[in-house]
Symmetry: C2
Subunit: 333 residues, 2 copies
């Protein structure tokens, strides 16, 4: 006798039974009554001690993130857990660091804890070499794997992505339209998301007939002062630039600090665009124009898709969400 | 046959056996050889599938935090997991939100997952009413409970605290020594840590013969723009102040923005002190003087204490770590 029998007999999804058990108000009175009367009829008692013993409850979802101290991922975790809780699910999180070995160990840990799905938060879990992703594909035979802003193709793998390429394409185009011709691009990571952002920048330059120059594209540690110092070095080397597009707000903040030190006027002489629209974007004076990468919508959509999977619905394996360009005071548009 | 038998026979701690199993380099070659030969002798095979089945392995530590999107807690999680991993332990994290009900549910979830200790990260887990903490005291009969910058007295409960009172006392005294007489105090929370900070500010004023005035003490949402707007309102109301001490860097950033809007010169007319020495402290121009609350040291100490508990050592139930005052450009000292 378990939650599946209740779900079948009451003709509702397992998620609905779970919601009733957890006292979630998101269930109609009629459904609640039906579920409760089926439980009584079948003599079903929800047993919290069954949790963790692998007795087929569907209460717990595993979340993996590479670095909880990254503000983007920290918010993703927050929203994922909030949405899971609202749907009557518990979650357990593993912060894995960036080594593939440790990621695999944590993945195995979650599987041994009998989680009912694994969510990979952020695009750092998908490796370049196909064989390094085999453990994920292998797990997807047993449980759904959800990717938040990462991409991997496979049965029972569901990706929710921000359209990062479109976002940087739009920002670059707006910079060009506002008169900028020498646009620096600073980025932190070569993940799927990182490459999409870079491609958006390149494509926008090309489609406006501007050259794509390697010496205008620089990788930088995700650190305010590292970005400031990199820009001071580029400035000193004589490189001419009138705009800085970044893949993260911390780099945008570093760019504002660079401009303050060198006395360049923002936005008249120098435009700056951040990414993620985090709290950092409102720290500086002037405040940063930034791309809102919609982390909350991504997480809500991920959990909606997961609930669809549990309910046996026909859910899309790939969902893409458009970013927003939030205009503040570091650009002329 | 389990890890305890190996530890006993090899005459090393369980943590050391765990380190050998996990390939942690922090074990001498001599010890590693002894442990491996005992394993062979006893026919012990580490069984990862035993994890989660409650078979008495000591591999997994539960961590609870109230809000992973808070930068202080996000860093605490990062350091706790790093230190646990270095000692050969896995960890699973629950982000609980602030409701007592949900905190208790997650606590039960971790216990049902057979974790070997629970770490409560941040001071928001200890309630004012003793009976609301009974579930923690109850659990401490079975497993050690570790508090990171929170305080609760009980057997098998271990607290590692930052000396927040001393830190704000020092900052307030330095502000006074540099000529400030009307020091505003902005804070976000009435937790144990929050109250310690407030007491440090009050005590420093009193010990310098200055009045403690309620209209100079204000609670504020942990939000840059909320702090800025609160200060603009206080300014408009005619309140005279020459320094702002805050319980969080985000409020300090809001104070810098307030000064920019009103044209008050930092630090000549207005001194500002942040708290936590986070990335926010270096976002602004001028950069924020801030109290380094030593989150990394707190987390390292917490894990050292936990390893001591597992090894049966005589460990302190309360460890206090001094904060540092990081002097930057928003103060005259």
């Amino acid at each position: 006798m378990n939650i599946y029998d209740v779900s079948k007999k009451a003709n509702v999804s397992i998620a609905t039974v779970s919601r009733v058990l957890n006292g979630n108000p998101n269930v109609s009175e009629k459904t609640r009554t039906r579920v409760l009367s089926v439980m009584e009829e079948l003599g079903y008692t929800p047993n919290v001690f069954a949790r963790g013993l692998g007795l087929g409850t569907i209460q717990t979802i595993g979340i993996m993130c590479s670095d909880s101290s990254d503000p983007y991922l920290a918010h993703a975790i927050y929203y994922l857990e909030r949405e899971l809780r609202a749907n009557g699910y518990d979650s357990i999180l593993c912060c894995t660091g960036n080594s593939l070995e440790t990621k695999r160990q944590y993945f195995d840990l979650l599987r041994s804890k009998k989680v009912d799905a694994i969510i990979l938060a952020g695009s750092k879990f998908i490796e370049m070499k196909a064989r390094d992703n085999a453990y994920i594909l292998d797990a997807s035979k047993d449980i759904p794997i959800m990717l938040v802003n990462g991409y991997l193709e496979g049965d029972n793998i569901y990706c929710t992505l921000c359209d990062d390429r479109m976002a940087t394409h739009l920002a670059t185009s707006q910079l060009i339209a506002s008169g900028c011709r020498n646009i620096l691009y600073l980025y932190t990571s070569c993940s799927y998301s990182g490459n999409s952002k870079l491609n958006g920048y390149r494509d926008a330059l090309s489609s406006h007939g501007l050259p794509v120059r390697d010496n205008y594209i620089h990788q930088c540690e995700k650190d305010i002062l590292a970005a400031r110092d990199l820009l001071l070095r580029l400035h000193k080397s004589g490189l001419i630039f009138d705009a800085i597009l970044t893949s993260d707000d911390t780099l945008g903040v570093g760019a504002v600090k660079y401009a303050h030190i060198t006395g360049r006027a923002i936005p008249d002489e120098l435009s700056i665009v951040g990414y993620n629209n985090s709290s950092f974007a409102v720290c500086t004076d002037p405040e940063l124009t930034s791309i809102d990468s919609k982390v909350e919508a991504l997480c809500t959509s991920t959990i909606n898709t997961l609930m669809g999977v549990f309910n046996g619905g026909n859910v899309p394996s790939r969902t893409t969400i458009a970013a927003d360009l939030i205009k503040r005071a570091t650009t002329k548009f």
